[in-house]
C-alpha cells in the first residue's frame, strides 16, 4: 500500500478576476521510505499541490481529487480536527524561508516542544530530553543553549536545521521539504541536503523534495516528478530521467544545467509559465516547446506509457528525438 496516493488532484483559487487553476489533475504516489523530487519552475504548482495534501491552503482554494489517501486514511473526508492529528506528526513539512518560518516571539525550544506536547504523551522533562536529542540529530551545536535562543539569534542554516528538528519531532512517515535550500548560501545548501538525505536514510521516512534545481535533484533523490503549469508532465527514476528525458520540458530543463551545456552560451527556455490569463489551447507547454506543431497548439495531449515516463506529450522524446510524429501526419 502506498504511503501517499493522490489521483487527479486539482486546486482552484478564487480570485477577484475569476477562478484560477494552480494544480491541474496531478497524480502523486509515494511509497514508504521513498525519496522523490517534484521539479518545475516557479508557478508550476509544486508547492500548492503539497500544501493541499497538508491542508494548509487558504480558504480561497478549492481542492478536488479522485483519491487522496495517506497511510490508508482518506484525507478528503476528514474533519479538520482528525486531519490536525496527522499533520505535524505522521506528515510534516519544512519551508523555503527558514528565517521567517520560525515565530520571532518564541524560543526555538518552545516551538519544538510545542509539537511534542501536541502529539506525544511526553512529560515536561521528556520533552526537554527529546528536544535536545532532536537538536543533536540535525547537527546544532550546544543544543541546550540553542533551545533558549530566539529565532533572530540564529543564522539561516541554523534556522532551517531547527525547522527540520521541529518537523522530525514526532518521527513522521513523510517529510515534505518545500525548496528547503533556496534561501540559503550554496555551502549551507549542500549541508542541509546532506542532512535531509542522511536523516531519510536513518529514519526510513519518505521524503518529497520540492525544488526547481535539477542539480539538487541529481545528487539527492531516487525518483523525479516534473510539473509544468499545474500539470504533471513526466515521472521517471532519476538516472533514466537524466539519460533520456521524454518530455520536451524536462529535456529543456536538463539542457539548461550549466554542467550539461555544450555551447558557449547557456541554453534557456524562452518565455514564462502561463498564468491565469494566458493559458494556451492544447498543450500548455506548446508556446515554449521547440518541437511543437499545429496539433500541439490545438489538442490537449494524453499521458504516454510508463516506458515513455508518463510524459504528457503528443510526441514524447526518445533520446532527444520526437516519436509518434509519422503516425500523426
Amino acid at each position: 500500500m502506498p504511503l501517499l496516493e493522490i489521483r487527479n488532484l486539482s486546486v482552484d483559487f478564487s480570485t477577484t478576476s475569476g477562478s484560477f487553476r494552480a494544480v491541474d489533475g496531478v497524480d502523486i504516489t509515494v511509497e514508504p521510505g521513498d525519496l522523490m523530487a517534484i521539479v518545475g519552475e516557479s508557478g508550476s504548482g509544486k508547492s500548492v499541490s503539497m500544501l493541499a495534501v497538508m491542508g494548509l491552503l487558504p480558504w480561497t482554494a478549492t481542492v478536488t481529487a479522485d483519491r487522496m489517501a495517506f497511510n490508508g486514511h482518506d484525507l478528503r473526508g476528514m474533519t479538520p480536527k482528525q486531519r490536525r492529528r496527522i499533520i505535524g506528526r505522521d506528515m510534516s513539512m519544512i519551508f523555503q524561508e527558514p528565517m521567517s518560518s520560525l515565530n520571532p516571539c518564541f524560543t526555538v525550544g518552545f516551538q519544538i516542544k510545542e509539537s511534542l506536547k501536541k502529539h506525544t504523551d511526553l512529560d515536561r522533562a521528556g520533552r526537554q530530553r527529546r528536544a535536545i536529542e532532536l537538536m543533536q540529530l540535525v547537527g546544532i551545536p550546544a543544543p541546550e543553549k540553542r533551545l533558549t535562543a530566539f529565532p533572530h539569534q540564529l543564522s539561516g542554516g541554523m534556522s532551517q536545521r531547527a525547522m527540520i528538528a521541529m518537523a522530525l519531532a514526532c518521527e513522521p512517515k513523510l517529510l515534505i521539504a518545500d525548496e528547503p535550500t533556496t534561501a540559503l548560501d550554496v555551502t549551507i545548501q549542500a549541508q542541509i541536503l546532506e542532512l535531509l538525505t542522511g536523516l531519510q536514510e536513518r529514519t526510513g521516512m519518505a521524503l518529497i523534495l520540492i525544488t526547481h534545481d535539477m542539480g539538487v535533484v541529481a545528487e539527492t533523490v531516487n525518483r523525479v516528478q516534473v510539473q509544468y503549469a499545474g500539470q504533471k508532465v513526466e515521472e521517471q527514476e532519476v538516472g533514466a530521467l537524466f539519460d533520456d528525458p521524454h518530455h520536451p520540458y524536462t529535456a529543456a530543463l536538463l539542457a539548461a544545467l550549466p554542467e550539461r551545456a555544450t555551447e558557449r552560451r547557456l541554453p534557456t527556455i524562452p518565455g514564462v509559465v502561463p498564468g491565469q490569463f494566458d493559458r494556451p489551447e492544447g498543450c500548455l507547454f506548446s508556446p515554449r516547446c521547440r518541437f511543437a506543431d499545429a496539433r500541439c497548439k490545438a489538442v490537449e495531449p494524453v499521458q504516454a506509457s510508463r516506458e515513455m515516463g508518463l510524459a504528457l506529450c503528443h510526441y514524447p522524446l526518445s533520446h532527444g528525438e520526437p516519436t509518434n510524429r509519422e503516425k500523426a501526419s
Partner: protein, 335 residues
C-alpha cells in the same frame, strides 16, 4: 532591561521641564484675570486687588513666578488652589481614584472585548461577522460621546430604570474607604447593597467611555492580525497540527500585539487625563470635571498642577508600553 528603563527615565527630564513650561504658560495665555473672576460681579477695588495679587504672587515678574512654581514642584508642593484654598495635590488625589476606577473599568472592557473581536474578524475576513463588526466599530468610533451617553441614559435609566442616572453611589450609603475605589470600598464597608449600587453607577459611564477605545482596539487588532496571518510562521504553526485557537490566539496574536499595545497605551493616557464629557454627563466626581472647572475659574495653580500630574502619568504609561514591546517581541528587547 534596566539600562533601557534608566535611559528612558533620563529622557523624562527634558520632557518634564517642557511640560512645566507649557502648563505654566497655557493657563496664563487665556484671557481673563483670576482675581477679577474671584471677586465676582460686584468687582474689586484697586487696593484690595493689589493686596490679593501680592498674596498670590501675581505681582511678581513671569520668570519669577515660573521659578517659584518649579522650586515648589521639587519640594513636592504643587501650590494651593486659590478658589478652594486647599493644596492642589490633595485636591487631585481626592478626585483621581474616581477617574482611575472609571478608566480601568473602561479600558478593561475595551481590551477584553476589542482584542477577541478583532481576532475573530480577521480570521473570518470578509464574512458576515467581520463586516458587521467593522461597521459597528466605525459607528461607535464616529458617534458623538455626549449623544451616545444621553441615548443610554434615556433607554436604560429613565426608560427601563435599570441603572442610576448619575454619580458614583446611591445617597443611601456613605462610603469612605481606604482605596477611593467605590467598588472595593463598598465591599469593605460591609453595607448591604452598597457594592451593587457602586456597580450599577459604573455601568453606563464605563460603556460610554469604552466605546471609542473599543472601536479603535478592535480595528487595530483586526488589521494587525490580517498582516500577521499571512506570515510564514503562522503556516508553520498550522503545519504542526495546532488547533486554530492556538495558531490565531497565540502564534499570530502575540506578533500582532505591538500596534495593539500602542493604541491601548494611547487610550489609557487619554482616559486617565480625564474623560471630560463622560464625567460631566454622569456627574462623575473625577479629575476631568475638576480640570474644566479650574480652567473656567482661572485657578492657575490647580490647572498647572493638574496638567503636570496628568502629563507625568501619561509619560509613565508610555514607558510601560515601551517595556511591554520588549516583553512581547524579543527582537526589540535585544536592540
Amino acid at each position: 532591561m534596566l539600562r533601557f528603563v534608566l535611559s528612558r527615565l533620563l529622557t523624562f527630564v527634558p520632557t518634564f521641564i517642557g511640560v512645566t513650561i507649557v502648563s505654566f504658560a497655557f493657563i496664563r495665555l487665556l484671557p481673563g484675570d483670576p482675581i477679577t473672576l474671584l471677586a465676582g460681579e460686584r468687582g474689586i477695588g484697586e487696593e484690595r486687588y493689589n493686596e490679593l495679587a501680592a498674596q498670590f504672587g501675581f505681582d511678581q515678574p513671569m520668570w519669577r513666578q515660573y521659578l517659584d512654581y518649579l522650586f515648589g514642584i521639587f519640594q513636592g508642593d504643587l501650590g494651593t488652589s486659590f478658589v478652594t484654598k486647599r493644596p492642589v495635590l490633595d485636591e487631585f488625589l481626592a478626585l483621581f481614584p474616581a477617574t482611575l476606577e472609571l478608566s480601568i473599568c473602561a479600558i478593561l472592557l475595551a481590551v477584553l472585548l476589542g482584542i477577541p473581536a478583532g481576532v475573530i474578524a480577521a480570521v473570518n475576513r470578509g464574512k458576515f461577522f467581520d463586516q458587521a463588526l467593522m461597521t459597528t466599530a466605525l459607528v461607535g468610533y464616529s458617534m458623538p460621546i455626549f449623544w451616545w451617553a444621553l441615548l443610554l441614559i434615556i433607554v436604560f435609566s429613565s426608560g427601563l430604570g435599570w441603572t442610576p442616572v448619575s454619580g458614583r453611589m446611591s445617597l443611601m450609603y456613605f462610603i469612605e474607604g481606604p482605596t477611593g475605589f467605590m467598588l472595593i470600598d463598598s465591599l469593605l464597608s460591609g453595607q448591604e447593597g452598597a457594592f451593587r449600587s457602586a456597580l450599577a453607577h459604573l455601568i453606563l459611564p464605563t460603556i460610554v467611555l469604552a466605546t471609542i477605545p473599543l472601536a479603535v482596539i478592535a480595528r487595530q487588532t483586526r488589521s494587525a492580525m490580517l498582516e500577521v496571518l499571512g506570515e510564514d510562521y503562522v503556516r508553520t504553526a498550522r503545519a504542526k497540527g495546532l488547533a486554530p485557537l492556538r495558531v490565531n490566539g497565540l502564534h499570530a496574536l502575540r506578533n500582532a500585539m505591538i500596534p495593539v499595545v500602542t493604541v491601548i497605551g494611547l487610550s489609557v493616557g487619554t482616559l486617565l487625563a480625564g474623560a471630560i464629557l463622560t464625567e460631566t454627563i454622569f456627574s462623575w466626581p473625577g479629575i476631568g470635571k475638576w480640570m474644566v472647572d479650574s480652567i473656567f475659574r482661572r485657578d492657575y495653580q490647580a490647572v498647572q498642577g493638574g496638567l503636570l500630574i496628568i502629563a507625568v502619568i501619561v509619560m509613565i504609561v508610555n514607558l510601560t508600553v515601551d517595556i511591554l514591546y520588549g516583553a512581547i517581541n524579543p527582537k526589540i528587547r535585544n536592540r
